[in-house]
Amino acid sequence: MADQSPIHGVVADFDSPDTLLDAVKAARAKGYTKMEAYTPFPIHGIDEAMGAKQSILGYIVLCGSATGFTTAILLQWWTGTIVYPLVISGKPLFAFEFGFPIIFELTVLLSAFGAVFGMLGLNGLPRLNHPIFNYSGVAGSSDDRFLLVIEASDRNFEVTATRDFLASLGAEKLEVIEA
């Protein structure tokens, strides 16, 4: 069958968030680490159950804001006092009083860039396809099905054993999907 093609992993199809959550916990207990859940809505506690770490996105945003903050100060100070020193309505060449709106805006802008592009980067987006779409019942994961994939890159992965293990957790349907 699919023996010639590389394998992405084994999909287990569950009928409720509770059975999925229990399966995730069992898989973790068994030593699996490379797994992904596909569900129609967020399930509380699944991140912890899967051992997902806190995203580093916050630090990317912080870098964006720090860059925006300093760039805005340097830009206004440099243009205002070095390259085009013009006195306007008796105000200083540079002052935080009038500089701050720009500092604020640029901080927010680069933070937002950090958040959006950082999120896309961390999620590996944009990408045109994903192996999960090779699963025949994938549409259910945006309706009423709860999928757990144990990926082939996991060092404990072995097609038959993993498949049997997932079957023992009460999956209603199992499928090996190609990468």
């Binding site: 409720s16 509770d18 967020p42 509380h44 506690g45 916050g58 105000k91 009083e97 009038f98 709106p101």
Partner: protein
């Protein structure tokens, strides 16, 4: 979330235990008696110092009480579930509105000590005050105060008593009625609280004006309201009250609100400052000129770095909003900073050379706050400490941040 994972969650007692209640009452009563004796002694010794000190304390308490009403109405209008388990405590703070009206009496009584526009001879010789006299005169000041307290007390009483009626009846109509009352309530509270800040604080310097001043005061008051609510919850939790119902998820959201209002306050404060700085008109810049004279400049710096920067950086990380130790510290910090803010608004009008702390500041502060605390504490016993009849109560208990 499904019942499967929650059916064994431990339940709280929704009545405050008598022993805890009596212990709290005794502490508050002791503070109440001592501070009022001290405040009254201060009044008879030096009423020139008493009235400004009292105004700072009164406005500190008023801001928190108004903030509670604003937030309760926002929660009704948005149909929030997460805040429902905390709402009864907020309502007990909000129901201090009539108490606040009584606490206002010393201000009404001391109008001539506090407000130069209340003297007819001063107004007669001041063209600018003469033009403002239709608004800034004692009669209008008193009438407006009565209107403010009437509006605030009525809304507080309706929202609070409907919520209590719902405890037993679980009647959904109370929820709909509260939503309907909250929409005009928001409008009226914003207008009246804004005008109250003009009457009570801005008019201390009657030549000066700033159209954003009301929002500035409300932002600070609401900020302090969240701090005092979170602080109270943490104290109750330390005594085993609501320790299971109010979870880290609720504290996290309170932390978010404190963080948001830190930024909002700074945004408003800076907007006010920048426009005045840029336009550079003498009758506007006088406000900041006074607050950059002598040691007041230091207090202004405390607001910039302490009120804003330090709080902003402390609450920025998700982990700190989810740490009860950080929240325990930051709530006290916020209350101190809000006091500095109100002090900074009022006192430079009376002590122009620089900051001059006085024991009466403390006496008045404890007097006003213990009076409000007493009102809060008494209502804590007369009903369950959570709105058990609210249709969103269970959902609020189970709430989790995603």
């Amino acid at each position: 979330m499904s019942k499967h994972h929650h059916h064994d969650a431990p339940k709280d007692n929704y009545q405050i235990p008598v022993a805890t209640w009596e212990k709290g009452r005794n502490v508050i009563l002791a503070l109440f008696v001592i501070s009022w004796v001290a405040a009254l002694a201060g009044f008879s010794l030096d009423h020139k110092q008493f009235f400004p000190s009292y105004l700072v304390a009164f406005y500190f308490g008023a801001g928190i009480t108004i903030g509670s009403a604003l937030f309760i109405m926002i929660q009704h209008l948005t149909g929030s579930a997460w805040s429902v388990p905390l709402r009864r405590l907020m309502e007990n703070i909000m129901m201090n509105m009539p108490v606040l009206a009584v606490l206002f009496l010393p201000i009404a009584f001391g109008i001539h000590e506090l407000y130069e526009w209340s003297h007819a001879d001063v107004v007669a010789n001041d063209p600018l005050l003469l033009k403002k006299a239709a608004f800034l005169n004692p009669t209008a000041f008193y009438i407006r105060a009565v209107i403010y307290f009437a509006i605030w007390s009525y809304w507080a009483w309706r929202l609070s008593s409907w919520s209590r009626s719902q405890d037993a009846s679980k009647d959904l109509n109370f929820t709909f009625k509260s939503e309907r009352l909250s929409a005009p309530g928001m409008l009226l509270f914003f207008l009246s609280a804004s005008l109250a800040s003009v009457d009570w604080i801005m008019s201390l310097q009657p030549h000066w004006y700033s159209t954003i001043f009301g929002i500035y005061c409300m932002a600070g008051g609401m900020w302090a309201f969240f701090a005092i609510l979170t602080f109270t919850l943490l104290r109750l939790r330390a005594n085993g009250i609501l320790a299971n119902s109010v979870t880290i998820e609720h504290y996290h959201d309170m932390g978010k609100w404190m963080f948001a209002l830190t930024v909002f306050w700074a945004y408003i404060a800076f907007s006010q400052y920048m426009l005045i700085w840029y336009a550079n008109l003498p009758e506007e810049t006088i406000f900041f000129k006074v607050r950059r004279t002598g040691t007041w400049e230091m207090v202004s710096a405390v607001l910039l770095f302490g009120h804003f920067a330090a709080t902003f950086l402390t609450l920025l990380a998700r982990a700190s909003k989810r740490s009860l130790n950080v929240l325990r510290f930051i709530t006290v910090w916020i209350l101190c900073m809000h006091y500095v803010d109100v002090y900074w608004l009022v006192m430079p009008n009376f002590s122009k050379a620089g900051i001059a702390p006085h024991w009466m500041d403390l006496a008045c502060f404890v007097a006003v706050m213990s009076t409000l605390a007493l009102g809060f504490w008494w209502r804590l016993r007369s009903a369950p400490i959570v709105p058990v009849g609210d249709p969103r109560f269970q959902k609020g208990l189970e709430f989790q941040n995603v």
